[in-house]
């Protein structure tokens, strides 16, 4: 490298990439929502809409070889970490071309080749897995990190304390990312949580920060610092990203609520407004400070929507999952 890099161009590229990734998640999930609402999507579908800046900021600084563990709300994490949209759609559509061959579905999207150790239907299920992956990395003396994405509801599961403790004791290369959207299903998490959840990390001597989870750059920055610590062998970090879930807990929410509600429409509107929504907000910033034009953004949107169209078509046209496979993949080389 003989010349200094053009920092502005690099920044612009980074910002546009972040924007595109967030928009991809948004448009993909809007499509999923549409299909789900029309009754075309089996099982439980939990959307990430409104939280895109968190997952994208986190994964923007990870390599394919780094690991993440995710949640029941995992589409955004999957796409942020580089998972293939077509393969994800095919999975949600229950097709054999799905990333999990149709065996996992929305709550279990995983791409191990991309370090995505799986969305998880058990609240808190990814926590110990992430700690274990970090233990594996440490033992293998590999230059990787493991990132655990989990919700504010999950943060009340005891495995968190257990795994925080072990990660601190052994200085494991793991980053704990609490995506605090304020809600656990239909429960306001604050009502069932005492104290600040970041203090649970501090109690084991771990650095913990809270960032605006709807500000993709703030999340990215916090992650960069945490990763440096991890790669330097200084151990785990804890990041809380404050954000909000704009859609229901799951797409069939209304059927479950039966007329009751747990939040006001005004609250949702606040978070959907241009100054809060992570994508609208970042679009403004791109226009005002990022050197992007509206045409740039429109072009991205078109590209993204095309990808979504293609993915939907791919999923639609793929063959159904293959039942025989169940018995082949339960074990390696052994029938169940």
């Amino acid at each position: 490298m003989t010349e200094l890099p053009n920092v502005d161009a690099e920044r612009r590229a980074n910002w546009l990439a972040l924007y595109e990734r967030m928009l991809l998640i948004r448009r993909a999930e809007e499509r999923v929502a549409k299909v789900a609402q029309a009754g075309g999507m089996p099982g439980g579908v939990h959307l990430y809409i409104g939280q895109e800046a968190s997952g994208v900021g986190v994964c923007s600084v990870l390599e394919d070889s780094d690991f993440i563990t995710s949640t029941h709300r995992g589409h955004g994490h999957f796409l942020a970490k580089g998972g293939d949209l077509k393969a994800m759609f095919a999975e949600l559509w229950g097709k054999r071309t799905g990333i999990c061959k149709g065996m996992g579905g929305s709550m279990h999207v995983a791409d191990v080749s991309k370090g995505i150790l799986g969305a998880n239907g058990i609240v808190g299920g990814g926590i110990a897995i992430a700690a274990g992956a970090a233990l594996g990395i440490k033992t293998g003396k590999e230059d990787k990190v493991s990132v655990c994405l989990f919700g504010d509801g999950a943060a009340n599961q005891g495995v968190l304390m257990e795994s925080l403790n072990m990660s601190a004791v052994w200085k494991l290369p793991v980053i704990w990312v609490l995506e605090n959207n304020g809600l656990s299903e239909f429960t306001i998490t604050d009502k069932v949580t005492a104290g600040e959840q970041t203090d649970r990390a501090r109690a084991v001597g771990m650095p913990a920060v809270t960032v605006d989870g709807n500000d993709v750059l703030a999340v990215q920055k916090a992650m960069q610092e945490a990763i440096e610590r991890a790669r330097a062998g200084e151990g785990p970090s804890f990041i809380e990203t404050k954000t909000y879930r704009i859609r229901g807990h799951l797409e069939a929410e209304d059927a479950f609520l039966g007329g009751y509600s747990y939040r006001k429409q005004e609250e949702i509107d606040v978070w959907k407004a241009p100054d809060k929504d992570p994508i609208l907000r970042f679009a403004s910033k791109l226009l005002s400070e990022g050197g992007a034009s509206q045409a740039d953004l429109d072009e991205i949107d078109e590209r993204v929507i095309k990808l979504v169209d293609e993915a939907e078509q791919f999923a639609e046209e793929s063959e159904d999952a293959d039942p025989d496979l169940i018995h082949e993949i339960t074990f390696d080389g052994q029938r169940p």
């Binding site: 229950g94 609240v123 999950a154």
Partner: protein, 329 residues
């Protein structure tokens, strides 16, 4: 009698029993807004001192149920999905099931744990299990699974009023089924199987969610000249071994239908007991229609391929009654 949905019947029992006995408390995740609908209005009616909307922490919830019962309360714990039985297993296996015995019988543990179970709705591996086997095996907890709204009312009332820990396994998480439910006080005793349909050629012992498909198959068989008796244990612990055995002795043939995974299933156990107790009257191998020993797949086609469908029940019955259809024809 009035028609009620399964979940409605359960909901009504909660309201009635908590009104009747002020000592009852209820807690669990999202019970305030009632994720399954079965705890609807309970929080509003009885308030935050008897109803606790909890954080997500199944390990403590099951242990807390034990503590609250030991402290003199009558406890209802809503555990949402049957899978979370595994998440809260430690205190279930080690405290709830054992504490009475380990203390020489010093305490009653009037605890009702309620959760939905089973597959067939593309909820995939972690939300489709039927944890009968572990609950039946640990010893020290009752396990009941009503197939109809009436039995839901009767068994739940018995569970709540009883002094022993009981897992009330909802056979219908969606609450869609409806049926006649006796009005007023109605208790169904534990350990008494229900004969849903009498028959003389083969006994179909169907558990919980499997009763409906079994009845459908029995009807079809009837048309083919095979008379199937459909018996529903209703409670797996205690198990009406004598009632099932009486049916098997009469028909000489047994098919057990169970949504558990096959190995060590409730079906296996019932088959084993009958292979011991009714051997002299058995005319054919005992068949099990269960779920294979795999994680429930997501895709509908894959799920149905391993689900205990009417087709599979029919095939199992036919495999041991083949000659009958001909001779009865």
């Amino acid at each position: 009698m009035a028609k009620q949905r399964y979940i409605q019947a359960i909901n009504q029992v909660f309201l009635d029993e908590m009104e009747r006995d002020k000592n009852i408390i209820l807690f669990g995740e999202d019970v305030e807004l009632a994720i399954f609908g079965d705890t609807r209005e309970v929080y509003k009616t009885f308030g935050p001192e008897r109803v606790y909307n909890t954080p997500i922490c199944e390990n403590s919830l099951t242990g807390m149920a034990v503590g609250a019962a030991a402290a003199g309360r009558r406890v209802i714990l809503h555990l949402m999905f049957g899978n979370f039985v595994y998440t809260g297993m430690d205190a279930i296996a080690h405290q709830m099931a054992k504490l009475r015995m380990m203390t020489g019988g010093q305490m009653n543990l009037p605890i009702t744990v309620i959760c939905g179970y089973g597959g067939g709705r593309s909820l995939a591996g972690q939300h489709s299990d039927t944890p009968f086997p572990v609950l039946m095996n640990i010893g020290g907890v009752n396990v009941v699974t009503p197939a109809t709204p009436a039995d839901a009312k009767g068994l739940l009332t018995t569970a709540i009023r009883g002094n022993n820990p009981t897992f009330f396994m909802e056979a219908s998480g969606r609450g869609g089924d409806s049926g006649e439910v006796p009005e007023g006080e109605y208790l169904v005793p534990f350990g008494k199987a229900a004969v849903h349909k009498e028959g003389k050629d083969v006994t179909i012992c169907a558990i919980g969610t499997m009763v409906r498909p079994a009845l459908r198959v029995a009807k079809q068989l009837e048309d083919e000249g095979i008379s199937a008796e459909v018996i529903d244990p209703r409670t797996l612990v205690p198990l009406d071994e004598d009632g099932i055995a009486a049916s098997v002795r009469k028909t000489g043939r047994l098919v057990v239908v169970d949504e558990s995974k096959d190995r060590c299933s409730a079906a296996s156990h019932i088959a084993a007991v009958m292979a011991d107790k009714c051997f002299d009257k058995l005319k054919a191998p005992i068949k099990r229609v269960t779920v294979p020993n795999v994680s429930m797949p997501y895709a509908g086609v894959a799920e149905m391929a391993i689900f205990p469908t009417p087709e599979k029940i029919y095939a199992a019955v036919k495999s041991i009654t083949g000659e009958l259809a001909e001779s009865n024809a």
